[in-house]
Amino acid sequence: MRRMPSLGSAISSLVAFAVGMTTLLSLLLGDNPELFGEQPGREILAERIAAPGDVMLRLATLMVALSIVLGVANLLHVHVLRLRRHSLTSAVLLASFAFTLYWHVAQGDATLLEAVLVPIESALAALLCLSLVHGASRVLQKRADIWGALFVLVVIIVLLGSLGLAELAPVQTMRDWLMAVPVSAGARAILLGIALGVIVAGLRALLGQDRAYRG
């Protein structure tokens, strides 16, 4: 038997639908007076159609900016609860948070950022490079098929072609062709697929078919 939606989910679906469709149509049709032919006051009409979209986008930007507080609150909440399990990582994180906050308020400078965070981020970036090389070296272990072999072959050609050595000019030509034709075509195909998925998933949410609104 089909379950009846609750009043709350019906209202949230309705609000999502109304706001979403208004914003969508406003963004799609706004700011183009030519759409109204020679009708008098067409510039004002185009601006009015674009206005709701602008307002909603500004509101969204404001909410995104404020949401960082929510993120920090979640981080602290999770790690305070994890302290009950005697998590050493959580204890270190909470102590670091308290110390950083105290330092920033008491000293008012960015020493901790420059002396601790920047080197750590740099170290992680270097580690990322190693992880990528490690991952590429294990492709044939994980994917022992023609696609895995092709992946490794392309990686080698692109890396060698990027060296810029005169002796490797043919490899460089091959690299340029790979980047311009198959890689570009593949990337476009993936992006087209993603765009289709985005449109369908977005419209599904606007139409209230998404679980986030259905409760």
């Binding site: 949401s67 999770v78 998590s87 992680l124 590429a136 998925g197 985005v198 449109i199 977005g202």
Partner: protein
């Protein structure tokens, strides 16, 4: 194409997609008769879920940097829908799954997904980490401590995915990203990979709900039409008659397709 043509085409495309979403039932019935397109990457999910239940180790799910309120809102919603059905299928275990994100606006979405899908205590389920490399570093440490049974990463993930997957050797891993760099890393390093639009269709494959599988149907229909359209455009361009293609022609084609869809829906 001028701006008016683009706008008209966009509105028609959106309207046609809405019609397709409502009429997908017909295509879906036909599709079930000839078996659903397979996604081999999803076949290991039941085994990972069982492993999580038997070993009392949590599943780790991640939305990456997909943010509600940003341009990647659909990927956040699609990832949350996928995770909802995945958590439900493993709801018999005693370890609540964790859903991580580096976007603070996605924290309520992650928490709500876990709360609705998981019957037990899900207070610790949603976890936020700062974006970028800090996300990868924090997540790797937390996952090592939690000994996650499997990592399923679906959302906006960049090259930092390499650090996360490098630390995921103790369990299985499935990754898909809406970023090209992340997608390449996922292909090289994850045990299983979904590609491109499969992120948005995945929920339909792990769910029995008809409404979830309709997304996969609509994407498949559009993809088929896109392939036909691109092939036709290529042939027309090759023959030197592409300028003949106009928005009036596109309008006629979309109206015809919509009417056809409505007729088929009524007959179904």
């Amino acid at each position: 194409m001028d701006q008016t043509t683009v706008q008209v085409f966009s509105v028609l495309f959106v309207m046609a997609t809405v019609v397709l979403l409502y009429t997908a039932r017909f295509f879906e019935r036909r599709r079930r008769q000839r078996a659903q397109r397979q996604m081999a990457a999803l076949e290991r999910l039941p085994a990972w879920t069982s492993q999580s239940i038997e070993s009392s180790r949590p599943l780790h799910l991640s939305l990456g940097a997909s943010a509600v309120g940003g341009e990647d809102t659909p990927s956040a919603l699609a990832g949350a829908e996928f995770f909802y059905h995945l958590i439900q299928s493993g709801a018999a275990g005693d370890q609540a799954p964790t859903i991580s994100t580096s976007s603070p606006t996605s924290v309520p979405l992650a928490q709500d997904t876990a709360r609705r899908a998981w019957e037990g205590d899900s207070l610790l389920s949603a976890r936020w980490y700062p974006p970028g490399l800090a996300f990868a570093g924090g997540l790797s440490a937390a996952m090592a401590e939690d000994e996650a049974a499997a990592q399923i990463l679906a959302g906006k993930l960049g090259p930092e995915l390499a650090l996360i997957l490098d630390g995921a050797d103790r369990g299985g891993s499935l990754a898909v990203s809406d970023q090209l760099e992340g997608q390449a890393v996922a292909f090289a390093m994850a045990d299983e990979t979904l590609i491109g639009e499969e992120l948005y269709a995945a929920a339909g494959y792990v769910s029995d709900e008809a409404s979830a599988s309709r997304v996969a149907v609509v994407i498949d229909v559009w993809r088929g039409l896109l392939i036909i359209g691109l092939t036709l455009a290529l042939l027309l361009a090759y023959a030197g008659i592409l300028p003949w293609l106009s928005w009036q022609l596109l309008l006629a084609a979309v109206v015809a397709a919509t009417v056809l869809g409505l007729i088929l829906a009524r007959r179904s």
